[in-house]
């Protein structure tokens, strides 16, 4: 490497590190201070919890005064089930669109993909009425149905694009072997789309997990609150008790962080592998 190249490499890393600090610093701040007493938080926000300032009172408040495990479980159920349905139904529809020839194939494809450009929130007014009429207000089911509907268009799009490029031969050979179309789908096609499942999952999962709008509108009840909504309400209640609030935030962040760090390589490989070029 010439010295000119080495210099600019340092500059590049400097930029990257600067942004990394900017990205991480708020998180680090939260977690550090969640373990400090009120005094510690105020007087020396940037310091690590020391012997004098250490306090787990915030966490105690969170765990006793609110139902975080419940909220977290709700988020998990809603996101998990929605994701499952999106992947399954999306793959099924994409398979039918890309594999079989039938009248209306094109039109149906266009119809399903329309949803990418038209956000579902626009229909919220009628959606709420529908949910209420179906007796699904304040249920996780309502959220699951809505999120599935929201996530299907892009799943169908990504899957069908991918399936297009897969050779037909392996499916034809399965047909010759006598497999039913259903078995072909589950045993041949599904394993084939593995590379793009991560892409679809990431695109779908984040908007569901972090969503505030639909939990607030469709299922604000105590039992059905998601973690996003739960944290928001908790902050509203406890906004003076910073220790508790910080602890709540940490509790909300931590599981996601852990899962992300563990799965980050697959996630990013999924995004960049079969990814959208534009």
């Amino acid at each position: 490497m010439t010295s000119g190249q080495r210099l600019s490499s340092t500059a590049l890393h400097a930029i990257l590190i600067a942004w990394s600090v900017l990205a991480l610093f708020p998180l680090v701040l939260i977690v550090i201070n969640s373990w400090k007493s009120r005094g510690g938080i105020f007087r020396e926000p940037l310091a690590l919890p020391g012997a004098e300032t250490f306090s787990a009172k915030g966490y105690a408040a969170v765990l006793t005064n609110s139902d975080f495990p419940l909220f977290f479980g709700n988020s998990l159920i809603v996101t998990g089930v929605s994701l499952l349905l999106i992947l399954l139904f999306g793959a099924m529809a994409a398979h039918a669109l890309s594999e079989y020839r039938f009248r209306g194939n094109t039109l149906l494809g266009l119809y399903l993909i329309l949803g990418i450009m038209v956000p579902i929130r626009i229909g919220t007014v009628a959606l709420l009425e529908l949910i209420v009429d179906l007796n699904l207000a304040n249920t996780l089911t309502a959220l699951i149905l809505v999120y599935t509907a929201q996530g299907l268009p892009i799943a169908v799009f990504i899957f069908s694009e991918f399936l297009r490029s897969v050779s037909r031969e392996i499916k034809d050979s399965a047909r010759i072997d006598g497999l039913s179309e259903y078995r072909i789908f589950f045993e041949v096609v599904v394993p084939l789309v593995r590379p793009v499942i991560a892409t679809v999952a990431v695109f779908s999962m984040i908007p569901i997990w972090n969503d505030l709008w639909f939990p607030l509108i469709l299922s604000p009840g105590e039992d059905t609150r998601t973690v996003t909504l739960g944290v928001q309400q908790f902050i509203g209640q406890y906004n003076v008790d910073w220790g508790a609030v910080l602890a709540a935030l940490s509790v909300a962040i931590l599981p996601v962080l852990v899962m992300y760090v563990v799965f980050s390589r697959q996630l990013i490989r999924g995004i960049t592998a079969g990814a959208v070029k534009g």
Binding site: A149, T228, G278
Partner: protein, 345 residues
């Protein structure tokens, strides 16, 4: 019966090129399994089984509500009686929206703010994302994977968490920001930005940018990685160095990605901006409506907030206007931008 085999060379990365992939689906269907002689499409029931769940859920919970919301905007409840039957009022609600000061002031305020939000994202978030992606995609960079993981972290966080973290950091009570600014000599500069009418929108927008840089970053990154390696080598032999390779070779080739990112930013800014603003500034999007955007305005309109009564029909009307706003943007993208950006394969 001759069957054409689909040749290699198409990949998911071609996905967003061409008119929303619709052409792609058309071509695929030409290739697909034809019914055997004597077998009609109807008897191939498995096709419908595959299609039914997605189509059903999508139609009932996404399309129908949108259509119904649009329909509701053409109706009103006479005498404001809840539970009474709706009466068709044509465009009366729209007249109210644009006629009554109470409504039109809120609408124009929300729309203007939203526009500012969008432009700021366009001019700040996307260039930053592009620059970071460009640096990350240089092949000799060490630790690229670590950086990627870090950069995407804020995007994963709940918007509530993000909003509150920044509220704390920017709070005059906590002292982090004032002290930090004082340390670099800009102590006088500090103000409770989130609480001031003049700066609240800008501050919230910057927070939103901080969080969501990850998404365009990933899309640009994927796009840049897709530039064929040999084209870059040819450029090196032709004498181009790192920056110039980016500027003259990579950038022109990811223009389609740029277009896509722009329209996604547009749609997201007009719909998803609600979450951050609601959790930081509340349903009234204070101070004094300076952070009100279409999302919060819509929420208030049909759901009501504090003293403001909810009105389903006015809410539907606002939703329809939001729909129009988005359609205009998408239309401009599909017909203006997409047409001109040709594929390079």
């Amino acid at each position: 019966m001759r069957r054409r085999t689909w040749t290699a060379g198409t990949s998911p990365s071609d996905a967003f090129q061409g008119e929303a992939g619709a052409v792609a689906l058309v071509s695929a269907s030409r290739d697909a399994v034809r019914p055997a002689p004597g077998e009609r499409a109807a008897s191939r029931h498995y096709i419908w089984v595959f299609l039914a769940p997605a189509t059903l859920i999508y139609t009932v919970f996404a399309i129908y509500p949108i259509v119904e919301s649009l329909r509701l905007s053409l109706f009103d409840r006479p005498d404001g009686v809840v539970g009474g039957t709706d009466a068709f009022v044509g465009l009366a609600n729209y007249a109210r929206l644009f006629g009554e000061p109470y409504w039109v002031d809120q609408f124009t305020n929300a729309f203007a703010n939203n526009l500012v939000l969008f432009v700021m994202h366009l001019l700040i978030q996307n260039p930053i994302a592009l620059a970071l992606a460009a640096i990350l995609s240089t092949p000799t960079l060490r630790g690229a994977a670590t950086y990627r993981t870090i950069f995407f972290l804020p995007t994963l966080l709940s918007v509530v968490v993000v909003g509150f973290i920044w509220q704390l950091i920017l709070s005059p009570l906590w002292g982090i920001t004032p002290d930090a600014l004082a340390a670099i000599g800009l102590g006088d500069w500090f103000a409770p930005w989130l609480g001031l009418e003049s700066s609240a929108l800008t501050t919230i927008t910057l927070i939103s940018i901080w969080q969501y840089v990850g998404i365009p970053l990933m899309l640009f990154y994927a796009g840049l990685l897709n530039v064929p390696e040999e084209v870059i080598e040819a450029a090196r032999i032709d004498g181009l160095t790192g920056f110039w390779i980016f500027w003259k070779v990579k950038l022109p080739l990811i223009l389609p990605t740029l277009g896509l990112v722009t329209i996604l930013t547009y749609i997201g800014n007009f719909t998803a901006s609600f979450d951050l603003i609601y959790s930081v500034q509340g349903g009234l999007a204070g101070p004094d409506g300076s952070t009100d955007v279409m999302g919060t305005f819509l929420f208030r309109s049909f759901f009501g907030f504090q003293s403001q009564q909810g009105d389903i029909h006015m809410g539907a009307t606002v939703a329809s206007m939001l729909f129009v706003i988005i359609l205009v943007g998408v239309g401009a993208y599909l017909f203006g931008v997409q047409r001109r950006l040709r594929r390079y394969d």
